[in-house]
Amino acid sequence: MDLYTEGNPVTDTRAPDGPIEGRWDSRRFNAKLVNPANRRKLTVIVVGTGLAGGSAAATLAEQGYRVRSYCYQDSPRRAHSIAAQGGINAAKNYRNDGDSVHRLFYDTVKGGDFRSRESNVHRLAEVSVNIIDQCVAQGVPFAREYGGLLDTRSFGGAQVQRTFYARGQTGQQLLLGAYQALERQVGLGNVEMNTRHEMLELIVIDGRARGIVVRDLVTGEITTEFADAVVLASGGYGNVFYLSTNAKGCNVTATWRAHRQGAYFANPCYTQIHPTCIPVSGDHQSKLTLMSESLRNDGRVWVPKAEGDDRDPREIPEDERDYYLERIYPSFGNLVPRDIASRAAKNVCDEGRGVGPTRLGVYLDFADAIQRLGRKSIEAKYGNLFEMYERITGEDPYEVPMRIYPAVHYTMGGLWVDYDLQATIPGLFVIGEANFSDHGANRLGASALMQGLADGYFVLPNTIANYLAAGPFETVEPSHPAAVEARRTVEDRIHRLLSVDGDRTVDSFHRELGQIMWEHCGMERSAAGLRKAVDEIRALREEFWQRVRIVGDADGLNQSLEKAGRVADFFELAELMCIDALHREESCGGHFRAEHQSPDGEAQRDDERFAYVAAWEYGTEQPVLHKEDLKFEYVHPTQRSYK
């Protein structure tokens, strides 16, 4: 293709050989260790304080390393993991319903549409049970049964009840657990916490990641910070679409700057569009709000059978409703995985059967559940979600069915990492949503929290030791040419942004970029659309650098300047996402190419040609594709079926 070149394949992922059940043990045993007395001579920078970054920073500090932690928010507790609602998976098999580490592994590989690494996913499933133990010990108030034991529920893509939860605020409670462990280390002086600081560049010296350039968002001061290793836990890039369920500040800058410095970016086109979000209400919309997938346990999804049926939903009789998920997927019903539920919603709306003022919506109806279980029981399970819905829409979901529509929620792609979670730049580790490793082309519900905490509490603290054992590395001064250069790049860019002094706001560009991405790189993609998108993105980026207007200066808090830097990086990422989506001439998971579907409209994979991870290297002219072949020794790839 004319948009990229192909380089050498990636052949070594550092995953041990042997039976899959023993690989993680073997990796830990063979990893080099750092003597406890030497750990305090080693410094680790951790960027981001969500489930992955918060748990990693706390754990590394507990082990005795010196940790410097950074977040752009005013407190580490604000990181967007806090907004996760539904739950966290773990293979505890407390329900005695046939769950096991192997089944969680199997479900996750299948749910990811056979585009993830078996070794990584198996490790994730193994570690899942330790996470629950750890969180309970911290005082996380999980939901419990009357006997005092932990309650679980089911989630999309699984037929066992393995999801632990804390009402509709599981992410909040898990994050506060990690945050409290982190603050304990701050209090003990083992972690230096830097809030309202944003990483704007990675410093690479002699081929190793040795530090970052940060801007103090309050004073505007730009400094260079050094360490023996750098961990990026900066989250996903869903905000490239402008409208998403991400927090407003979520951005790709940390990982994108690392990518420009040489770290490969893997599978950027794999985007999760979540099926149950509150529909867009108008042009003023600034973000979208998720309604937890757990609602699909009791809510039934439907649209009218007839096109353009404008009646009050309560007046539409049963036989004129189409419970389309139950009809098309009788065995999983309303609990099909997210990618499938989203596309099905899009299809019924495309047929003209969508509901609500914009006709981009479907009903999620609790009338049956309320009748069966009583209003009280529904309130206990979902009360906070129902309230949130009412606040936003002004409608009472106990009385009128909710209206929902898919929205961008999570990005499975991210910086490429090996089995040790190390990027292609030695000393750079990437954890949580910021990496690409465990979810393949589609993430199952309640698995993001599991992965973030697995990486931060249990995986990284073991694997990073193997790297740090070679340290401490030579001390770096801010006057080192590479540090000076990185700092100058940041300062020049800020100066450039401020000096455009044009006539359009940052948000207006971001909104327009989001529209291009949603139209052409959203729920359904085509070669023609993606090519058009690449052209449009390039033109818009050009315009951005000529017309953007930022009022104020760089010497203090300037929220427009912060946004502008993030949007500038989104432009570059957006182009790579479209190129990745264009090159992957198959459909898999969240990546649906109109040209590649089965006769009944399901995603049609091409395992012969595309059973690989697309790891992209930054090129000043064109990106370079490196393929990492995926081998399936335990879960045989099949056409995913939830029927």
Binding site: A58, T59, Q73, D74, S75, R77, R78, H80, I82, A83, Y94, N130, D133, V136, A137, Q138, G139, P141, A143, R144, E145, Y146, G148, L150, A166, Q169, Q172, Q173, Y179, Q180, A181, E183, R184, V186, T195, V218, A247, K248, G249, S281, H284, Q285, S286, K287, T289, L290, M388, R391, I392, G394, F458, P461, T505, D507, R549, V551, G552, G556, L557, Q559
Partner: protein, 251 residues
């Protein structure tokens, strides 16, 4: 809707600050309050004026980053609702709305509506945790928790750390925030070993950070977007008394 906004503008901690009046037009009742401020900021930017700085992030009422006094109420007129979840249908056409930052000694203003809430992190660092280093945890079912206790712990754990309680308190006290965490952990078996050192550590950090004392005015629970109950402060007081009397030898 057309509205008149009177917004607190302050260039930095040293600036005295003042209220500035801005008319806004064509506001949709379906907009959130922050989206209404976005509209104003877009207009100010195009006119070459500095947009109003305000904190926000998740915009779904859970991160705790947003917060402002709206017509003298922390987070505005709707009970149990953060500023980001407040929608313009709560206001009427032609209304004048006053918008100010949290005001408390422990929360100095950074700029406009943005304040520094690091003091909350200091309270948590002072003891708001269970010491359970990663890897040391027993099997999760080793200690059952009665559902009533688990539910009550959850109720207190729902605090989002926004600071509305402090802003509403006539004394600028952070006691509801502190008590919510003390209560959560003191209700759970995992929190027992550190129960009394925790409460002393947290209250000391609270006082050191410049918060005022609690006089049970109760304003905090009225504005709390998560409905943290006032009786958590009673529980804190009880634990604090027990701790000072019996467990640390302090008086």
């Amino acid at each position: 809707m057309n509205l008149t906004l009177r917004i607190w503008r302050q260039t930095g901690p040293e600036d005295k600050g003042r209220m500035v009046t801005y008319p806004v037009e064509d506001i949709s009742p379906d907009m959130s309050f922050l989206e209404m401020l976005d509209v104003l900021n877009e207009r100010l930017t195009l006119a070459g004026e500095e947009p109003v700085a305000f904190d926000h992030d998740c915009r779904e009422g859970i991160c705790g980053m947003c917060g402002m006094m709206i017509n003298g109420n922390a987070h505005g007129p709707q009970r149990g609702t953060t500023a980001c979840q407040l929608h313009m249908r709560q206001f009427t056409d032609g209304e004048t709305i006053d918008i100010e930052p949290w005001r408390a000694r422990a929360f100095p203003v950074v700029k406009d509506l943005v304040v520094n809430r690091n003091a909350f992190d200091e309270i948590i660092a002072g003891g708001g945790f269970v010491t359970a280093p990663t890897g040391s945890a027993p099997e999760a079912h080793a200690a059952p928790v009665a559902k009533a206790d688990a539910d009550a712990a959850f109720e207190s754990a729902a605090c989002i750390g926004c600071g509305a309680c402090v802003a509403a308190c006539p004394n600028g006290s952070g006691m509801l925030f502190t008590a919510a965490k003390v209560t959560q952990l003191s209700l759970l078996p995992q929190g027992q070993p550190e129960r009394y050192t925790r409460v002393i550590g947290m209250v000391d950090s609270h006082d050191d950070a410049g918060f005022g004392g609690c006089t049970n005015a109760g304003e905090c629970t009225v504005v709390c977007p998560k409905g943290i109950p006032l009786h958590t402060i009673g529980r804190l007081n009880r634990d604090y008394l027990a701790a000072t009397a019996k467990h640390t030898g302090r008086s």
